[in-house]
Symmetry: C2
Subunit: 268 residues, 2 copies
């Protein structure tokens, strides 16, 4: 009997080349409108570091720059360990297709230490995921099917009726159960539609150019979360001159801030 | 008669080497507790791109990773143009001292376009800078003297009496008048004390590890701002396991969101 590989892990399968680089290809299950879903690309960039033999600690920060369109085709990821310090490690990562760079990333790995702690940001008071219906998207790219979305507000109904603000609050988890880990948390930081779509309630032209995620969760909090829904909150702050910023929070079911994120998005 | 060079521009003086790299050295005026003020280092990383002959557009996003302590000594900055697209450009930047990398950055340059725009985030309602007294720090590193700070809340009094939250709102500008530009905006995104200091109202051990800034301002809004104070707002979101995130907003005097920023900070 063989255990079935989860679609997310299939998409993230990386093969080590003899020169230390990795070979991969995002599966069609995670196809976006053009190329693969950016969240799964980000997770692949991160995985090339976390599975590296020289990696120390757990993800602390991830910045992914989407340099060029990524084709639904094989890619190569190269990693470069810039520096290992006592409590962290800096990496540069590049994804290329046919010799052309399509994506760069910086990854900070951290060794978590027990010091004083505090959480200033509070989880919004919302109905629990169990009490809400899963949202059925009227249309959209394939990758949406890999997640279960339960919106509190800011769903994309494609009504064409513009909203005053672009905030979305949504319970989200893998459609096929999978325990939360750093890779899926990285992917979830990009699980929100571009705020310009939500604001205008139409599909427009938009694409993430740069995405930064900070990971606050440790292994214990990920284990506690398990396969349950996390609460995602995303907001647009300013839309100007063809670029807007989107800030996001990812919350555990018990109100722990698992990750915070921000991205700059090209829009028309 | 020669015009006196502003301290900020003195600190950011870069000399082009024949191999395309730059030579620089942050002046003692911007000394921090260890090495130079991170904001001016970030500005130097950005300047190596904006003054590059191949640069197109204006700064859109800047992520700076502080890899190792930077000495108050000469440094070399190398830039690599990863890709020029129709409306943006991706750069990788490295700062090294004596052959060792101390800092890496990714820079996104953007060509601003006129499309629909909206600002969802609203400037906090605060007293104008003219009505407030400049804050006199009881002690602190040299770089503080290069700015004028007028706090609305969250000043660092070193009372040792812990605050419930770490929010600061502060009007800030160069102590010696200088019109705002992208470089000084980049520096100002790091002008806030670590939130752990504000929270505990003591100097502790803390250092920025990764800093991301998105620039929303265009040349016209920078020109309109001129030499007046901008309003900085900074908040800590979660302090855990030795790292906390600090989100920041930089506002023009007229309520325009000039830049948004987030950083991950090591603390004890």
């Amino acid at each position: 009997m063989t255990e079935k590989i989860h679609p997310f892990d299939q998409a993230l399968a990386l093969t080590a080349n003899t020169d230390g680089s990795f070979q991969g290809e995002i599966t069609p299950a995670y196809a976006n409108m053009v190329g693969p879903f950016g969240g799964v690309v980000s997770a692949a960039m991160l995985k090339a570091v976390t599975t590296h033999t020289q990696a120390v600690g757990v993800p602390g920060a991830l910045t992914v720059n989407f340099v060029a369109p990524i084709a639904e085709a094989p890619f190569q990821i190269t990693t470069r360990l810039v520096k290992t310090n006592r409590t962290n490690q800096h990496w540069l990562v590049e994804l290329s297709q046919q010799g052309e760079i399509a994506c760069t990333a910086t990854v900070l790995m951290v060794v978590k230490r027990e010091v004083w702690s505090d959480q200033e940001l509070r989880m919004p008071s919302v109905a629990p995921a169990e009490e809400l219906e899963a949202f059925q998207f009227p249309m959209g790219p394939t990758w949406l099917k890999q997640y279960e979305f339960k919106f509190i507000n800011g769903a994309l109904t494609l009504s064409g009726q513009a909203l005053a603000d672009s905030e979305s609050m949504v319970w989200v988890r893998d459609a096929v159960s999978r325990p939360l880990d750093y890779l899926s948390l990285a992917a979830c930081s990009d699980v929100f539609f571009p705020r310009s779509f939500v604001k205008t309630q139409t599909f427009g032209m938009a694409g993430t150019v740069s995405l930064t995620t900070y990971f606050h969760a440790d292994e214990a909090s990920l284990a506690e979360q398990g396969t349950d829904s996390i609460l995602g909150v995303a907001r647009g702050q300013r839309f100007a001159h063809g670029y807007f910023d989107q800030s996001a929070e990812l919350w555990s079911k018990t109100g722990e801030l698992l990750a915070t994120s921000m991205q700059l998005v090209y829009y028309k």
